[in-house]
């Protein structure tokens, strides 16, 4: 009984953590390059509808994921053009991108309201995936495994490869990187597009696994959690992984409170928890101004080459 409950809980936590882990991993790369894209929520929503619609129309979930990836990257590229080429303010443009994503996904999704698709299932054989115990490891959607591999790969990329070093250098001091001869703008474009692509995949996870029944704004603010998570993790991949599951536990408490009905506080309280914690953590971190976990020095600043 208790072990079944524990396994249920773990499977739930891992499932709901995955989209924020994905989106935050993508945003980590973006922010390491010195750009802050507050449009994560919007790019995720573009991914939700792209993944859902393509899967519904073609019956091929893999094509759905591919299109969601491209759609996320395309949305991010709009942001990149405005911010990197035209020098628009990053914060304002990111917020606009979120609003754009909400509107676009609702518009395209208006034909799909109430329609359901088959959720994407575990890539492992049923014997393992539905086993009462082993499903804790093998019973997840492909998104889960992808997210964990991705965050580890990003950590390795940033810290161990030369390309990662260049990425960090550009986020740390864009003028120096420029004078040594690195193409600052081109690398930032690539980072922003990558972040968008991963946010698109995170969105597809929502509409294809977590709630495969179309509803507007199904990401429900998780893009903001992903943004907070990057700061929470101090711009480090390892802590990002741990922090994501911490938020996952908080979000699972809400589901549990809703389902059981006998939690001490109403479920709305638990629903508010992750956001509340995010705010508190962010306030603590910024007041502490800690040595470990410093933001890239050029974060959010436009790149103006001095000749």
């Amino acid at each position: 009984m208790t072990i079944t409950f524990l396994i249920d809980a773990l499977v739930t936590i891992i499932g709901i953590t995955t989209p924020i882990l994905l989106a935050a991993s993508g945003e980590l790369v973006v922010e390491k390059s010195g750009v802050i894209n507050l449009g994560v929520e919007g790019m995720m929503l573009v991914g939700t509808i792209a993944g859902f619609a393509v899967t519904f129309e073609t019956g091929n979930p893999w094509l759905g994921i591919l299109v969601a990836t491209l759609a996320g990257a395309a949305a991010a590229t709009i942001f990149a053009v405005l911010v990197l080429s035209l020098g628009a303010n990053q914060v304002a443009t990111g917020l606009a991108l979120t609003i754009f994503g909400i509107g676009l996904s609702s518009l395209i999704g208006s034909n799909y309201v109430g329609i359901a698709i088959d959720p994407l299932e575990s890539p492992f054989p049923d014997v393992l995936a539905t086993d009462s115990f082993w499903r804790v490891i093998f019973g997840h959607s492909p998104f889960v495994y992808f997210a964990i591999i991705l965050v580890l790969a990003i950590g390795w990329f940033i810290n161990k490869t030369r390309a990662g070093l260049v990425l960090r250098a550009i986020g740390e001091n864009d003028l120096s990187a420029h004078s040594i001869g690195y193409p600052v703008i081109a690398i930032r474009y690539a980072a922003v597009a990558f972040g968008g692509a991963i946010a698109g995949i995170a969105g597809a996870d929502f509409s294809m696994v977590i709630s495969p029944l179309w509803a507007e704004q199904m990401t429900a603010g998780r893009g903001w959690i992903a943004l907070a998570l990057v700061v929470f993790a101090g711009w480090r991949a390892g802590r990002l992984l741990a922090g994501a599951y911490f938020f996952g536990v908080l979000m699972a408490l809400e589901l549990y409170a809703k389902a059981s009905g006998h939690a001490i506080f109403p479920s709305q309280f638990w629903a508010a928890m992750p956001y509340l914690i995010a705010v508190i953590v962010l306030a603590l971190i910024s007041s502490r101004d800690g040595k470990d976990g410093k933001a890239p020095a050029c974060l959010g600043k436009p790149f103006i080459p001095n000749g």
Binding site: R168, E172, N173, A177, S179, I180, Y182, K294, G307
Partner: protein, 516 residues
């Protein structure tokens, strides 16, 4: 038969919107030659070397490398040819270690271990001392420059460009640098040495090309010239040395600082440690030191941006002001000009007249019952512009639109024309052309002659030795005891400034480890 020059520029021109930065510039550098590129700020030196290093490309003219015409579209192409560059504003990454910084300057991936070995080899060969594992933010300016040099040397350059390399070094560090450069030149590496410090060029270089207004105005052999003659070629007119009349420093003590201590303001700051000195009316007191040893903290403590715990640590004409803010101190006659002119001394997006209101409102009466006297401020700003020969359209011009030297003249003028009893200035001629610098020096001398006490904080020893009556050195937040200028040698000052910074290489706990 003459040797093929390593680098030759023929009629190179570069135009920016509104300015012709380089106008048909020609110069040639022989193998193994240390060639000076001399000129005032804005003469086009930086633009010229940026074209050689591939950061910018010329509009017309040609660049010849060992006799072959070449195009240098980006820095990588320059490095491939064998051009290395040490930037004036270092191109370093604070949050990374020395190894990572050097790796970023190379064009191919090298393992950390291998790079570490290569760096140690180069350092040993050229007598450069550096710990490859240290993080940049913990290093002194001299050490930072060594990183840039090592980074350039790892590529075995055949031409090394040094952009104003000595402006932040102690005299001993300059010595060490010159040794390294001579050694390099003796091995056949050409060096293009940019500076406006004339005596250095006389000491180091074999040939000099002098730029003025984007054009080559002269080529000479510095060993046969004097600093003065080259200075005149550089500014195109007689260099007027500021005249310090016979002064008798017998006035009353106007500024007294008594055991002033302050904790460090942030992680990168320096704590002030029991600083005491007194300045009399009519006296110019100099504070020397390598950047980042507490100069900014001291200026902020003196002008009132940071308050001390006790009021009597700072006294102006006998009143204790240690607990008073900047406005109250100004009312008592303590005015100041910080190092950073745009953003600290003046607001770039404000007009000159508004900037005048910011610091002169109470002393000059531009504020009554909360209302601003705009006409008065305009008149005052116009007066500053006229008296200090600031090149601008008028009081309505934005501060940010002025060149560095002109804005510096304006902010200096703004304070001096308030007739302060005590004036504290930091780096009064940093990045200012020689003509304006002479003007600012004269204005400080005149102010002292009128009975004010003047404190000059500067990293430029020449400036202090020329200007001041007495001198102290600030090192790690401590002030040495003041000495009359005539009685102290440059060598002594250099040792007080911390000698060659970072000499103990691997010993991270060395005496200067915390100096950055």
């Amino acid at each position: 038969m003459s040797v093929t020059p390593r680098l030759e520029l023929i009629d190179v021109s570069k135009r920016f919107p509104g300015v012709l930065a380089n106008d048909r510039v020609s110069l040639s550098v022989k193998p193994g030659e240390i060639h000076a590129l001399l000129g005032e700020n804005g003469a086009g030196k930086s633009t010229l070397v940026k074209m050689i290093y591939g950061i910018q490309s010329p509009d017309s003219g040609s660049i010849l490398w060992e006799g072959q015409e070449v195009r240098i579209p980006h820095p990588r192409a320059a490095r491939r040819l064998g051009v290395g560059m040490v930037f004036q504003h270092f191109s370093l990454f604070e949050a990374m270690d020395v190894l990572e910084n050097i790796a970023l300057g190379l064009d191919s991936a090298v393992s950390r271990k291998q790079l570490d070995a290569e760096i140690r080899l180069v350092m040993e060969k050229y007598g450069l001392k550096l710990d490859p594992r240290r993080q940049i933010s913990t290093l002194s300016v001299g050490e930072r420059q060594r990183i840039e040099i090592v980074r350039a040397l790892l590529l075995n350059p055949r031409l090394l460009i040094m952009d104003e390399p000595t402006s932040v070094l102690t005299p001993q560090e300059v010595e060490d640098l010159f040794k390294t450069l001579r050694r390099l030149a003796s091995e056949g590496c050409s060096i293009l040495y940019i500076s406006h410090k004339l005596h250095e060029i006389v000491e180091l270089c074999e040939r000099a090309t002098i730029l003025r207004g984007g054009k080559v105005v002269a080529t000479c052999d510095p060993r046969k010239e004097t600093a003065r003659s080259m200075g005149e070629m550089m500014i195109g007119s007689d260099l007027r040395e500021p005249a310090r009349g016979q002064v008798s420093v017998e006035g009353p003590v106007r500024l007294s600082v008594n055991r002033l201590s302050l904790p460090k303001p942030d992680d990168f700051g320096v704590a002030l440690d029991e600083i005491s000195f007194q300045v009399k009316g009519g006296e110019i007191f100099g504070i020397a030191g390598v950047a980042g040893n507490g100069q900014n903290e001291l200026l902020e403590a003196l002008c009132g941006e940071h308050l001390s715990d006790e009021a009597d640590t700072i006294q102006v004409d006998g009143s204790s002001v240690g607990r008073s803010g900047p406005s109250d101190r100004r009312k008592l006659g303590l005015c100041s000009v910080p190092e950073e002119r745009n953003g600290h001394a003046a607001i770039g997006a404000f007009s000159l007249s508004d900037n005048a209101i910011l610091t002169a409102r109470s002393r000059m009466g531009f504020e009554t019952k909360g209302f601003i006297n705009k006409t008065g401020a305009d008149g005052f700003a116009a007066n500053v512009i006229k008296t200090f020969a600031v090149k601008t359209l008028g009081p309505a011009s934005l501060a940010g639109s002025l060149s560095g030297g002109n804005l510096q003249k304006f902010v200096m003028g703004r304070e001096i024309m308030q007739a302060p009893g005590v004036l504290v200035v930091s780096q009064p001629t940093w990045g200012v052309d020689a003509g304006s610098a002479a003007f600012i020096h004269q204005a400080l001398i005149d102010l002292a002659a009128q009975g004010s006490a003047v404190v000059v904080i500067s990293q430029d020893l020449d400036e202090l030795l020329r200007l001041c009556d007495r001198l102290s050195v600030i090192n790690l937040g401590k002030l040495s005891s003041p000495r009359p200028v005539g009685e102290v040698s440059v060598q002594e000052l250099g040792l007080l400034m911390g000698g060659s910074h970072g000499t103990p290489t691997v010993d991270a706990g060395g005496p200067h480890a915390a100096s950055a």
